[in-house]
Amino acid sequence: MSHIVVTRNTNRTRRDVMKAAGVAGIAGLAGCTDSLTSGDGGDGGGGKEALGNYPIEGDTATFGFNIPLSGPYGSEGQDELRAYELAVKHLNNGGGWVDSQFDDLSGDGVVGKTIDYVEADTETDKGKARENARQLIERDNAIMVSGGSSSSVAINVQDECQKQKVLFMACLTHSNDTTGKDCVRYGFREMFNAYHTAKALAPVLGDEYGEDLEFYQLYADYTWGKSVEESMRQFLSEGPGWSEVNSVATPLGTSDYSSYLSDAQSSGADVLLLNHYGLDGAKSVRQAVDAGVDEEMDIVVPLYNRPMAEAAGDAISGVFGTVAWDSAIDNTPSNEFTSVFQDEYDRIPSGPAQLAYAQTLQYAAAVERAGSFYPPDVIKELEDYSYSNIGMGEETMRKCDHQAQRAVPVVRGLPADQIETGNYFEIVNTTEASQVTYGCDTGPAAQCELGPYE
């Protein structure tokens, strides 16, 4: 596996990197003797204390995109990268939501800085992701890091970002822990979590399949899978009164689920929950359908997306789940994003792509409102910020846990004969934020202790 951090700044040569390293070294030495305060921060902040990678030297602010370009979530990562590149392009040159939905943004950089970015491949591995984050912050001087796909990646990266006082705008991460027990002051999540998914999905499943059924769960053996497993158990029991027969952990990256599926089928349960994501999810649902499990049990995949459905083929037919966002959501911001993404890449964007684009612009807009990249000011601009400009209705980025309270789209795979390229599922309903939200002292938020601002 490669361990390469790729820079897209085409002007940057090895010599530039060496020079930068030298400057950083001298700056570090100077920092020992010099004052801890900067002049004006170089971004109009004026007199703020040096913190993380603030103040930014020069005219360019660098974003670090830490994404899975390989591993089980590789397809999702590729789509995220496309969206990040589009966001940077629009921030610098205008276009897309920068022109139409974000009044705070000008399309001429952010508070006078041109935006550049560096990408790094997490390989869907939390250790590699943390190391990448460290490099993006310490070597590339990233002022903001974004990424995800794999909650264990997101949790590790945001922990590193908290320590280094650099903002982390989480992309795809769905574990309750990201904004629950592992929440951090420097991390913000737009994506809903497993708790939201379970609250949205349980009533739909109850209506569709009936009450007092038995269900069986297979779940990815890490924070996200466990989170979905616990939340689905809670809300399927409390809602339609279903009872769990068994719940079995499967390692991330499992290639063959046949033995797990044999056990599930023989359990006599009515419904099988496959708490797998990315390529793992495509594999498990496909192998379940090929083995005829769907003839005896109804299959549910609580979280899926477009690349996953594409890889699963017609096995996704009839399968209920939730998606981060989908191009079929018919409102102005969604349609605009689909349109600009298609113009740029000639393909329909996935939910993770919309998250990547939205989170990048959300951060930039907060910087503009703060008038500075100074992290505590940006954080305060994001906290309790209400918005409705990213296609998911009215939302609030809650101050108590940095979790967006937003609507959850519930979807169902189309009948096999209607599945075609780019069209895999239909939206059953979009559960309003008010129906899935929870208090700051309940659910995952009850365990959240955000760290310090500085």
């Binding site: 397809s75 063959d256 083929g313």
Partner: protein, 316 residues
């Protein structure tokens, strides 16, 4: 579930999981045993087989990469799985010949580390070429329509295709075994393995049998890529992912031993299936299934360092 159904399920799942390891390991093992060549590009042959097979047998929709940009987004011949397997075997066999002639042969007398470096490099090149031309999106491979049902045994959730995988593996490995054990060609190969200098002194040219051995090993890997396709959507990195279990199978079975590879693949597959499907009280052993494979490997190698059916190497 009844105990009988449980056992049938573990046996079939285990044999099928083992079958893919065996198809890969037999090719790796005969190349390693005969030519003493460490081929880390074996996974690349597997993934080439998967993509060529998908193209011939079914077709693929490419939505990213150079081919999509050039307007070739809907590719495929749709000629069915059997034609696909034959074409894959031939194409990857020829690729194996070319690989042996132009790359591997130059490295036979060089250290293992050189062989590992060049073949691993080649595997990455193949992976990246596939990625930039076809994109990294995983492609679904449908089961052949004639094998799309599930096994009609109550309480056993296994698709028919998995039974075909076991049968195809048995047939192909049987053919290769017969070729190596019972033909003049096999005799020359085995003799060359034991003492190539003596065989050459007897006036027998070894380069031709060796290149064919390489081609056969490659063809097995290619077919493995196609037959495993319906189990798991294929993507450019799939070849790298499968390489480690394949090497473990070779090492446990004993380098150069076809029977050893079959025994090792079967043991690994059944161990994995048994651990996944066993529950003691309320504790499920599934999380130990991956560890179980390597624990078995460690135990076997402690007891028999040369592998199950490998021959002790005299290093004197």
């Amino acid at each position: 579930m009844s105990l009988v159904a449980d056992l049938i399920s573990i046996l079939l799942n285990g044999l099928q999981q083992g079958a893919i390891y065996i198809l890969l390991a037999v090719g790796l093992s005969i190349i390693l045993g005969t030519l003493e060549f460490v081929n880390f590009a074996h996974g690349a042959l597997y993934i080439i087989g998967a993509y060529v097979g998908l193209y011939v047998a079914q077709g693929l929709v490419v939505s990213e990469g150079y081919l999509a940009e050039a307007g070739f987004s809907d590719l495929g011949l749709g000629m069915g799985f059997i034609v696909g397997m034959i074409v894959v075997a031939l194409v990857v066999f020829v690729l194996g010949l070319l690989f042996e002639r132009f790359i591997a042969r130059a490295f036979y007398d060089r250290p293992d580390t050189d062989q590992i470096l060049v073949t691993f490099g080649l595997a990455i090149i193949v992976q990246e070429i596939l990625r930039v031309s076809l994109g990294s999106t995983s492609q679904p491979v449908n089961q052949p329509t004639w094998a799309s049902g599930s096994v009609p045994i109550p309480g056993v959730a296994i698709s028919e295709w998995r039974i075909y995988i076991i049968l195809i593996t048995a047939l192909l490995v049987g053919i290769v075994y017969a070729l190596v054990e019972y033909t003049d060609f096999g005799l020359v190969v085995r003799a060359g393995t034991m003492d190539d200098e003596m065989v050459r002194l007897l006036g027998i040219k070894l380069s031709r049998p060796y290149i064919i051995v390489f081609g056969i090993g490659a063809a097995l890997a290619g077919v493995a890529g196609l037959v495993a396709g319906p189990l798991s959507p294929i993507n450019p990195t799939a070849g790298t992912d499968i390489l480690v279990p394949a090497f473990v199978t070779v090492v446990i079975g004993g380098v150069g031993s076809i029977r050893g590879a079959v025994a090792a693949g079967t043991i690994l597959g059944i161990t994995q299936a048994a651990l996944i499907q066993t529950q003691i009280g309320t504790y499920n052993l599934a999380p130990w299934s991956q560890v179980g494979i390597y624990a078995i490997a460690a135990i076997i190698l402690l007891v028999r360092p040369e592998g199950l059916l490998g021959e002790e190497v005299d290093t004197a």
